[in-house]
Symmetry: C2
Subunit: 193 residues, 2 copies
């Protein structure tokens, strides 16, 4: 496959589309769009969020010691994008988007109701990376849309309908078709060997 060089940049995909919900010392909820988010350990369950040190969300996490990562469904693309464009220092993004929040398990944590998957976290530590801070949070509880699960506990991904972010391309996409089962599709190749 013929390639062209893009240089040393941050073009990478697919990425998750999430809203990071935090609370200020005054108790105001803030929502920040984030795609630089991912699982980084199972021992204990840990999620990492990278954000600019000047973000209102960063100050809120430092002050409260908690945050939640809320997976954005396709239908919320416009609201999520607005939460990426506006600063919580100037705009009340919960009011702007009319998104509702509920309390989590931890004191002071807000979970976005319309999100099909809420990851509730306790701040653990951070890594300084230039203007960015990689915040590591221990996952305390995960709240998942009940409607997505059938009687056997098997989940239907289409009910979660997670929005995919294409970093560098600056586009949001929905999921298409299931291509394969993980920990399974590769067995045919391995057994052929």
């Amino acid at each position: 496959m013929k390639k062209q060089q893009l240089g040393a940049c941050v073009t990478f995909f697919p990425q998750p589309t999430t809203l990071i919900a935090t609370r200020s010392v005054e108790g105001e909820v803030n929502l920040m769009m984030a795609s630089w988010v991912g699982i980084v350990s199972k021992t204990p369950p840990t999620i990492a969020v990278s954000l600019n040190r000047d973000r209102h969300t960063y100050a809120n996490i430092k002050a409260s010691g908690t945050f939640s990562v809320n997976v954005v469904p396709s239908r919320m693309a416009e609201a999520a994008d607005a939460c990426g464009l506006a600063s919580g220092k100037k705009v009340d993004k919960q009011k702007l988007t009319a998104l509702q929040v509920s309390s989590g398990t931890l004191e002071g944590v807000s979970l976005v109701d319309e999100s099909p998957l809420n990851v509730e976290c306790r701040y653990v530590s951070e890594v300084e990376l230039g203007d960015y801070r990689l915040v590591l949070g221990e996952i305390v509880e995960i709240h998942a849309c009940e409607e997505a699960f059938n009687e056997e506990g098997k989940a239907d991904v289409k009910v979660f309908d997670p929005l995919v972010y294409l970093g560098g391309m600056r586009e949001y996409w929905s999921l298409g078709e299931k291509e394969a089962n993980a920990y399974s599709a590769g067995l045919a190749l391995l057994n052929k060997d």
Copy 2:
């Protein structure tokens, strides 16, 4: 939306599907499937990969100081899954999958030819997280499928066709439809305010 609690686990999506390409001291190429991968800084461009400290890939990165992150297209779902199931300590995964590699810009870096986006990295540091190591790599160069770009330099996401991993659901999905443009779709909501 009614929720059910999944406990403190690592269910999270959507995630990227990538192959981490490394070389051993003996020069053998290894390919590891990884979805715990993401951009963590722009200053300088940095990518993070979390992997178990027992992985062959981890030893290779430590020894060579370099690695590449190769985005997996939909058609490579089976090969990628096989690279997640087998250990590089026992199986020659390049031979198993018949994937071709080319040299990168850095000495000793291998890029998967069939991947539409190769992120070439230099090891910078790591964070210890239980049994896992969060490896931070400075992005030195990004190689993108030339065919995806039109004459104006605008890329067609469908040509990249990146495979999405649904962590916790253990499923691979293709992309469906473009839902919105980022840094744009939210303007309508902001201007209405």
